[in-house]
Amino acid sequence: MSGYTAHFKVWRGDGQGGGLEDFKVEVNDGEVVLDIIHRLQATQVPDLAVRWNCKAGKCGSCSAEINGRPRLMCMTRMSVYDRDETITVTPLRAFPVVRDLVTDVGFNYRKAREVPSFVPPAGVGPGEYRMFQEDVDRPQEFRKCIECFLCQDTCHVVRDHEENKTAFAGPRFLMRVAELDMHPLDAAAETGLDRKKTAQDEHGLGYCNITKCCTEVCPEGIKITDNALIPLKERAVDRKYDPLVWLGSKIRRRSS
């Protein structure tokens, strides 16, 4: 194998407008899309704006859309594309663009602040937390999240409907609610905070129609839909739509 010249289309512009620009750029064995974007910066467009950091798929910075699919540029090998294929790189299309490949992902930080944080159990100090591994397996899967926001970007609820951004937290933060609700030591319920109910009432769980795009794009392979969103929907059903469970909870109040 040897180097070759690839045809790239890269979106350039800002909030006022912009478009796709064509580039011919050298590609070498073993390179990823982010390498090519860096080569463009180094050799042709030094003012190309791109957000990146670790180049190892762990910081979640270099999220973009490559041939229309939300991906991490640093984890997308050039070898998956044909040599004569035009590769189109655009910024995330669910968020306001700042410049070139950089978007304003502030929406996600606003949504993060709306999720009440972990409530420590009463009478247990820092360093005294003890729990069984089988009880934390579920929340730990969600802790693999690197906050690249590809799931937020691809979710059609906000991607295709800007107006839903007020009501809908998005898969990443509904997963955060699930993580806390499944956490063996979270004592939110004791303080009157019912995460099962607020998932539906305040974080817009009902908007999710479980079409699994969040799971498809997750670079960490987290089963967001099957392990977080659907279990959370079932928990919300316990609280809001299942009269038998409601009745049972009134008759015998027992901690699970």
Binding site: H156, R159, T211
Partner: protein, 265 residues
């Protein structure tokens, strides 16, 4: 196409609703075609009210048979609770339950939201609808009663298991025999149970709702088992859909005299 969404004023100015270059349309098109084929076939068979019993086999579409106009199936799933006033096909009475189970199933929801409603047609492909409220309002808020259809599906699967046991008879109702139809019924009932048990609501009920697995070791084991099946829920949904149609078609072929059921012993 709406002018909001990916073409909102603040987002990167790109006219195309999507830039995907792969065959993203293939999966939703194939899904829609498969589901449509089943809907057409099952509608024909459900309303046909004929050729659904050929001793010892009863079509899964007509079991249990709840009206007086059902064919008499010796030792079979006749239960005439609807009496004589029910004039149309008795299949309608029972198919509501598996239909409701599959319509509200978390996998089929994904399948038909993508395949028929294009909401979204594929990931990062803009949907054509101007407004979207998901499952927050009537009628889609009713998807939340999936677990009740799951309970009904358990009962239906139990009755289909009984039918499978009955298929170990011959055409004269003598026990200890097997035919090709018995194998068809066995394959069908295994897939029906696997699909039913792998349901997300089942996974929640057996253990997913718990906060502390360590306090419920038996339910934890059950949750793990259902979880393994649940990972193949899509596969099982399709496999059982095909198998139930094939089981019905087999009974149709035998009952209508197209061919005789090959008997093994």
């Amino acid at each position: 196409m709406n002018n909001g969404g990916v073409r909102s004023r603040t987002r990167a100015a790109i006219d195309a609703p999507h830039l995907r270059t792969d065959r993203w349309w293939l999966a939703p098109a194939a899904t829609a075609a498969g589901l449509l084929a089943f809907v057409v076939y099952s509608t024909w068979r459900a309303f046909a009210n004929a050729d659904y019993y050929a001793a010892p086999y009863v079509s899964p579409f007509y079991s249990p048979c709840l009206a007086e106009n059902c064919e008499t199936m010796r030792g079979g799933p006749n239960w005439e609770i609807f009496g004589s006033w029910w004039g149309i096909s008795p299949a309608i009475l029972i198919l509501i339950f598996p239909l409701g189970f599959r319509l509200t199933c978390y996998y089929y929801r994904k399948a038909y939201y993508r395949g028929f409603w294009a909401s979204p047609p594929a990931c990062a492909v803009a949907e054509p609808h101007k407004k979207y409220t998901g499952e927050t309002r009537f009628p889609l808020v009713l998807q939340n009663i999936h677990r009740y259809f799951f309970y009904a599906a358990i009962l239906v699967a139990g009755i289909l298991s009984y039918d499978t046991v009955l298929s170990f008879r011959d055409e004269h109702y003598a026990w200890g025999h097997m035919g090709l139809g018995t194998l068809v019924f066995l394959a069908n009932i295994v897939l029906i149970w696997a699909y039913t048990i792998s349901c997300h609501s089942c996974r929640h009920i057996v253990g997913g709702k718990l906060k502390h697995f360590s306090r419920h070791p038996v339910r934890y084991r059950m949750w793990q088992f259902v979880g393994k099946l649940n990972a193949r829920h899509m596969l099982l949904a399709w496999a059982s859909l095909v198998s139930v149609a094939l089981a019905d078609f087999y009974v149709y072929l035998v009952a209508s005299g197209v061919f005789d059921d090959p008997r093994f012993f």
